[in-house]
Amino acid sequence: MGNLLLKMEGISKTFPGVKALSNVRFDLYEGEVHALLGENGAGKSTLMKILTGIYQKDEGTIEYLGEQIEVKDIREAQKLGISMIHQELNLAPHLTVAQNIFIGREPKGSLGLFLDEKKLNNEAQKLFDRLNINLNPRELVGNLTVAKQQMVEIAKALSFDSKVLIMDEPTAALTDAEIEALFVMIRKLRADGVGVIYISHRMEELQKITDRLSIMRDGTYVGTLNTKDATIDQIIGMMVGRKIDYNRKPAIKQSSKEVVLEVKNLNRGRAIKDVSFSLHKGEILGFAGLMGAGRTEVARAIFGADRLDSGEIFIKGQKVQIHSPEDAVNYGIGYLSEDRKQFGLMVDMDVKTNIVMASMKDFQRPLGWINAPKMKQQSEKMVQRLRIKTPSIKQTVKNLSGGNQQKVIIGKWLTRDTDIFIFDEPTRGIDIGAKDEIYRLLDELAQQGKSIMMISSELPEILRLSHRIIVMCEGRITGELENDRNATQESIMALATKRISS
């Protein structure tokens, strides 16, 4: 490792209502591969976005090559030599490799009017020779494998003479062989003095390629370890912390052994791999895992929103075919999606319409006429029962708070009399006070005999509510636990990071 390349100190960032980063520090040396770890929401992305100019820090200093800098925007970060390769690659599939790399900096011909395509391709080839990458400048990016597309992004970043390269989950979509190829490239970069910030949770990889590990939790900096001295337990312990779990649900044996929903060997490409589980009546089954683990994919597949390649679904013992959400709803399943506003609500319509949206058939009079009084009655009943704070049932849903919007969606499925609820991140974007109300509602629903599949990235939430916990990682179920003394944040996190080589 060479000189100190980057030193971030005292970094804080607040968004309306949320303190995303609090007094965070991070440093990076030349020729170092430094991993950045943390649960979902720990603040890794936010920190990196500040470094690359996408966000502006509220407090703190950034020292780069010995000088204090302010990174005003992405262009400036690029000029300084700080580049980021995002998880979702920022490439235009219809343009060629060379066109993508030099986008915004295209060499122009002698008149300054037209683009010099020949020079563009030559420059790209020169870059590839220098970096020892095997790419064809004229190939359309859309035709490349993900691994090669990543190479294009790396080449693009390095074409800015980057000294700091941030890689966000670079191996998520790669096979083992491709990962090895990537590591060869990273080692070369290291030898050239480039500093790499490596964001990932794959413990075996971290051990292979990184020099140091920094861990963040809940927007704060926890600590830094030397990779060769660190153990997985140690890392996980720092990621989840030794919080006392108050509000921990005592292990309640579910009152019913009756299996309400059973899935066997669900498969969909790389997203869902051989998933099987059962859901009992009156049970809250928590689904834990990191982002990209495949939980939402499983939920959507069961709900008929996405197709399955193979697998069987049984409802109350009977095998069913679910080809669309309509089928799922008819079988008594309701889905509360991760993104309420995009998938769960008609935000421009009023409370009463949203509440009855899944049950219109019941509010019909002959000739398709709407039974307005019945609709009004039902909506008011739901508003009362769920304690939805709204001036009236005619209020546009857009104007309600996140927690109340969520209640409207719950009301929608209660109106439809669903037995099986799939909650995907039930308290996302909801403030602390409302969270507790939603938790109580979930408990109530379970006590009333409804069965709940609850996906959550918040471990305390999982532990607070679940009877049993299923942990997924990269499309597979890696563990199934009773919510008893053995289910701790650490044990869940260990399962959530347990990869199986492909």
Binding site: E326, N330, Y335, G344, M346, M357, W369, I370
Partner: protein, 332 residues
């Protein structure tokens, strides 16, 4: 009161920071614009404010007005229908085929015409819902198919309804003295359309689809089925417009029709319905259609050359949609 050139919305209507429900606001704007235009032309020419002239305005609104009713529903789902003009003509042609060429009674001819519209709507709807073809393309294709079919079926010559005198009486007879039936038909259809949109499940789903189609699908609603039904319903309105037009002209003119769809869309847009879907009112559309007729008629009376009339309408459309954009920007 200073009378300005009608192409600009009068100063008082400039967008202020308003807390009024924005759809209501646009309706008020549209209605106020209509009144202002009306007053302007009444003052500008004594020939304008005459019973016969006003009846003439209403009559000339009837056909595009009925088309615009169906178009409103489709636009609320954030779709578009480019075929309503030529399908209207095809409907009038089919009515002619049934009534004149085959000698069926008039009511059967009407049924045939309306069904033609419904079938066209069904086909467009299927293409859009099942084949996932964008509405613009699907209805563009239907527009061309209908245009060709009209010419093929009639061998490019008009079908005259003179053998059946009752046919013309439908639109041009006067149940209410002095007012042609076509006007009544338009207003009755408008009331029906308004009731459908606001009081039936079909209407509710129309708004839901335009507001958030995916959320509607994820609520277990069979989105494809309802989309097809909405396009079919719009097709029924198109068919009726075709009958009214044929009755007015006492003939089915196979070469007519193209261009009416743009007028219908213009009426919808001027009336405050957003092309991005999710909101809209029939009342707005009716006002929009009337604004266009009043403009065209008034300019004509003022001896403004015909060509300038479309220029003015074009400018009005831009202003109407711009105020819609401003409204949307503020509420996001």
């Amino acid at each position: 009161m200073e009378i300005q050139k009608t192409a600009e919305l009068p100063a008082g209507k400039k967008m202020k920071k308003n807390k009024i429900n924005s759809s209501l606001l646009q309706q008020i704007l549209a209605f106020a614009s209509l009144i202002v235009l009306f007053l302007f032309f009444s003052v500008a020419s004594s020939n304008f404010y005459q019973f016969d002239n006003i009846v003439g305005i209403l009559l000339s609104t009837a056909v595009t007005g009925i088309l615009a009713l169906g178009a409103t529903m489709i636009i609320v789902t954030s779709g578009i229908d480019l075929s309503c003009g030529t399908v209207m003509t095809l409907s009038s042609v089919m009515a002619g085929v049934f009534t004149i060429q085959h000698g069926f009674p008039i009511w059967l001819g009407i049924l045939g015409g309306v069904l033609t519209g419904a079938v066209a709507g069904l086909l467009s709807g299927l293409a859009i819902a099942k084949m996932k073809i964008p509405p613009f393309i699907a209805t563009l294709a239907m527009m061309m198919v209908a245009k060709g079919l009209s010419l093929v079926i009639t061998n490019a010559s008009p079908i005259y309804f003179s053998p059946k005198p009752g046919f013309q009486k439908m639109a041009m007879g006067t149940l209410i003295p002095g007012i042609p039936n076509a006007v009544l038909i338009f207003f009755v259809m408008a009331i029906i359309a308004s009731l459908i949109l606001s009081k039936t499940i079909l209407g509710r789903y129309t708004f839901a689809l335009g507001s958030n189609e995916e959320a509607t699908r994820l609520s277990g609603v069979n989105v494809n089925k309802w989309k097809i039904m909405i396009y079919m319903l719009a097709g029924v309105f198109t068919g009726i417009a075709g009958i009214v037009m044929a009755s007015r002209l006492d003939s089915a003119q196979p070469a007519l029709g193209e261009g009416y769809e743009l007028q219908a869309i213009a009426a919808v847009v001027i009336g405050g319905t957003s092309l991005s879907g999710g909101t809209g009112t029939i009342l707005g559309t009716v006002i929009g259609a009337l604004i266009m007729s009043v403009l065209t008629n008034g300019l004509q009376i003022l001896s403004v050359p015909d060509q300038w009339q479309t220029v003015v309408v074009g400018i009005v459309i831009i202003l109407a949609v711009y105020s819609d954009t401003l409204r949307n920007k503020k509420s996001r």
